[in-house]
């Protein structure tokens, strides 16, 4: 036995209720084969596929979608209010402790709670990924669920409504006329077409009724806009998974390897920072040269808004400062020779601090120099303090005069000189193109959705002497032989009013013109 609980369009239409609206208003209707209408009872067999249907129904639920959007908004709000740190810092116990100690000064007793909820790294936390993934699934399910309905409204619109629909329609209009039904209907069709409506004949009342809609195709805008979210979320995943982002400290006049099997080197030929009289930054510019071996493959002045691009890589001006040229040797073999950017300052501001990981070891080296213009720090001007750490444990600390090597932890450390560095962010992002495709689709989809509003209405010519409806005709209409009636189910009544008024007025004019020309009535 099959019990069919599907919404039946024709039955609904006969009752004067537009089918698609009823579906939209009441949600989907489920067909259950061989089941009691009340559902399975007492452990009756439920097909495995029902689980998937249930999951699908869950995700295409508008309520679920709305809750997920709001959950995303709440996450974003928290993320903008609560101090955030990177996933890398959070993953490192030492750095996390340091971050939490600072956070405690602001959030006090709430710090452990916020930390436990992952709200200090909200956008890389597991709950956030769960919300984003569920939102993507919700968008996908809603879009999939909606496509058949959008297809039907464009290709197979519901053209017939019962006469009493015109008594109950949310927006309705009427034009009295003495014209014969064919003339009245032709005039109605002409007016509606002038208003850019697609007009279709009601097959069940061909000489009496019309269906008209405008922008029935615009549902594609909704589909495009929703699918664009999937593309955008995919772009985020691609960027996070396959993108390369690396901050390079390039000493001015020095060269660094680009790495990533590119065979490229980046040289900072010059750097300048200029300021206004009031001390506001006016310009930061690095003259960068990109080489492959001896061949210069790209060279340009790089500013904040004009990165150097080559071979899928971009080089952005991000920062600048003072660096210490450091050389480290093991048994006479050079193992490290780079400019170490002194990015931090000591608490008293007397010293500039940098750090690097010693290649091939588990050692971290902290380099401390006297800050510019300060002579009251722990390190004399013209020298560098090397502090060697293994994890949290300080292994050794040595002060090295410029150009003189000191031995520590089995290595020879030399502070060559102090010089300016320019901070360059190197970026390669295969997700970027998908982000722009998704963004373009989003804007296109929205433009279609909001610029081409879907409108539809039904029209019917009724003879007043034999009224087909229960609604009495009063006033000037009573003197006319017929009434052309319009009905629509627009929710946005106020904005629909203007359109309906224009149609009614135009039709009245059209009929008056026909009457004046002596068209047969």
């Amino acid at each position: 036995m099959t019990t069919d609980h599907r919404f039946r369009p024709e039955a609904a239409a006969d009752e004067g209720v537009p089918t698609r609206d009823a579906i939209a208003a009441h949600g989907a209707v489920v067909t259950v084969d061989g089941a009691d209408p009340g559902g399975p009872k007492g452990g009756g067999e439920v097909a495995v596929s029902e689980l998937f249907r249930w999951v699908y129904r869950f995700f295409y639920s508008k309520t679920v979608g709305l809750i997920l959007i709001l959950a995303m908004a709440v996450y974003a709000l928290i993320g903008s209010l609560v101090t955030q740190t990177s996933a890398a810092v959070w993953a490192d116990p030492a750095q996390r402790e340091s971050f939490l100690a600072r956070a405690e000064e602001v959030y006090g007793a709430w710090t452990p709670v916020l930390g436990a909820l992952g709200l200090f790294h909200a956008f890389t936390s597991v709950p956030f990924y769960v919300v984003v993934t569920m939102l993507a699934l919700s968008i996908l399910a809603c879009t999939t669920h909606r496509i058949p309905e959008l297809w039907r409204r464009n290709r197979h619109p519901h053209v017939h409504v019962a006469p009493r629909f015109f008594d109950k329609a949310r927006s309705r209009g009427s034009v009295p006329t003495d014209a014969d039904p064919a003339t009245a209907l032709a005039a109605t069709r002409a007016v509606l077409e002038r208003h850019r409506f697609r007009v279709l004949t009601d097959d069940r009342a061909p000489g009496q009724a019309l269906y008209a809609d405008r922008h029935a195709w615009s549902g594609i805008g909704t589909v495009i806009a929703h699918l664009s979210f999937i593309v955008i979320l995919a772009a985020f995943v691609i960027s996070a998974s396959f993108g390369i982002e690396e901050d390079l400290a390039v000493p001015v006049g020095g060269t660094v390897e680009v790495g990533h099997d590119t065979g490229l080197t980046l040289t900072a030929l010059s750097f300048s920072d200029t300021y206004t009289e009031q001390g506001r930054p006016a310009d930061y510019v690095s003259e960068l040269q990109l080489r492959r071996g001896d061949e210069v493959v790209a060279q340009q002045e790089v500013r904040v808004n004009s990165p150097l691009e080559y071979g899928g890589f971009r080089f952005h001006q991000t920062t600048f400062g003072i660096a210490a040229d450091v050389r480290v040797a093991l048994d006479g073999q050079e193992v490290f020779a780079e400019a170490v950017p002194l990015k931090w300052a000591s608490n008293d501001g007397a010293n500039a601090v940098g750090r690097f990981d010693l290649p091939g070891t588990d050692l971290e080296v902290v380099v401390v120099l006297a800050a510019s213009g300060r002579t009251d720090g722990v390190v004399p001007v013209g020298a560098a303090l090397f502090e060697i750490y293994r994890g949290e444990e300080r292994v050794d600390a040595k002060v090295a005069l410029q150009g003189a090597a000191v031995s520590s932890a089995g290595h020879d450390f030399t502070f060559e000189r102090e010089r300016q560095f320019t901070g360059i962010r190197m970026r390669q992002d295969p997700g970027e193109v998908w982000m722009w495709i998704g963004s373009a689709l989003l804007v296109i989809g929205m433009s279609i959705t909001f610029s081409f509003a879907y409108r539809r209405l039904w029209a019917r010519v009724e003879t007043i002497s034999e009224p087909a409806t229960t609604e009495p005709v009063e006033g000037p209409d009573a003197r006319a032989a017929r009434l052309i009636r319009f009905g629509a189910v627009e929710r946005s009544v106020a904005s629909y009013q203007r359109l309906l008024e224009d149609i009614v007025a135009d039709l009245d004019d059209e009929l008056a013109d026909l009457d004046a020309k002596g068209e047969p009535s």
Binding site: T63, A169, A282, N305, H316, M446, F450, A494, D509
Partner: protein, 310 residues
Amino acid sequence: MSEVLQLAEYLLTASLVFVVLALICNVVIITSRQRRAAVQTSERVTVAAGVPSSDTLVVSPVPDRSRRRRRRAPLSGLAWYATGFAAIAFVCVLAYVLLRMSLTGHGPFSNQHEFAVSFVLGILGAYLVVEFVYQVRALSLAVLPIAAVLLLYAMSLDAGVQPLIPALQNNLLLTLHVGFAILAYGAAAVSCGAAALYLLHPKLRLRNLPARDLFDDIGYKAATVTFPMLTIMIVLGAVWANTAWGRYWGWDPKETAALVTWLIYGAYLHARVTRGWQGTRSAVLLLVGFLAVLFAYFGNHFFGGLHSYA
């Protein structure tokens, strides 16, 4: 340049005066015992049964054809002054913005003062469009005070011209990104005003207040402008961030606040279109949306991050 700037400041003062005058005129019109003759061809009736909503639109042709196209009644009397003052205030702000652009060589969006003035421009522009389209001046009761307060705020800020900091030195994207923000924020202020009037409607004992549903409709229409404009603003911001900072999205507080705003308006439109939310619930969402706009706008005062210069 400072003398020209000083003169330009008078334009702001003048626009504030005209905004207040427009508001006063509208208050008088709305509370007046005299009613303007309505030129309409439709009416709302209450249907006894069979329709979910009690408000139904019934349209029939106006017998007098000469009146038919006069949907927009010609402005006369105090209404002429009210609209005129609002329009003059808009022109004053526009002139100020253009003057500043000619002085600085870039869009007037580089600091809070310039953006506050541009915000007012967006609000006044959106208000005038809605007043023209809907012929509803009661909206001014909620929208013009927002413009006036923002003007006062702008005038309290340092109006000096400063060169753009390096991050903002991209005239095209600066103009487009912030320009769309202003369009979005202006429409958002109108939708907020409409939502506030919708909610207050039963308590307001004003003689010439339009039907409550009209405010619901205006709020929705304004939100359908706000949302795409916000979308374009965020996309352009991502394009710019990708150029300047090497990534299109970094969860910077200002970016995140813009996203929150966008999500709220997205939720509003979804709730309205797919769940049929109209009336009180959707009006409350519009108020929340505008609070998010203000949060994103004033956030520069307490946000850190890459947008902290603005």
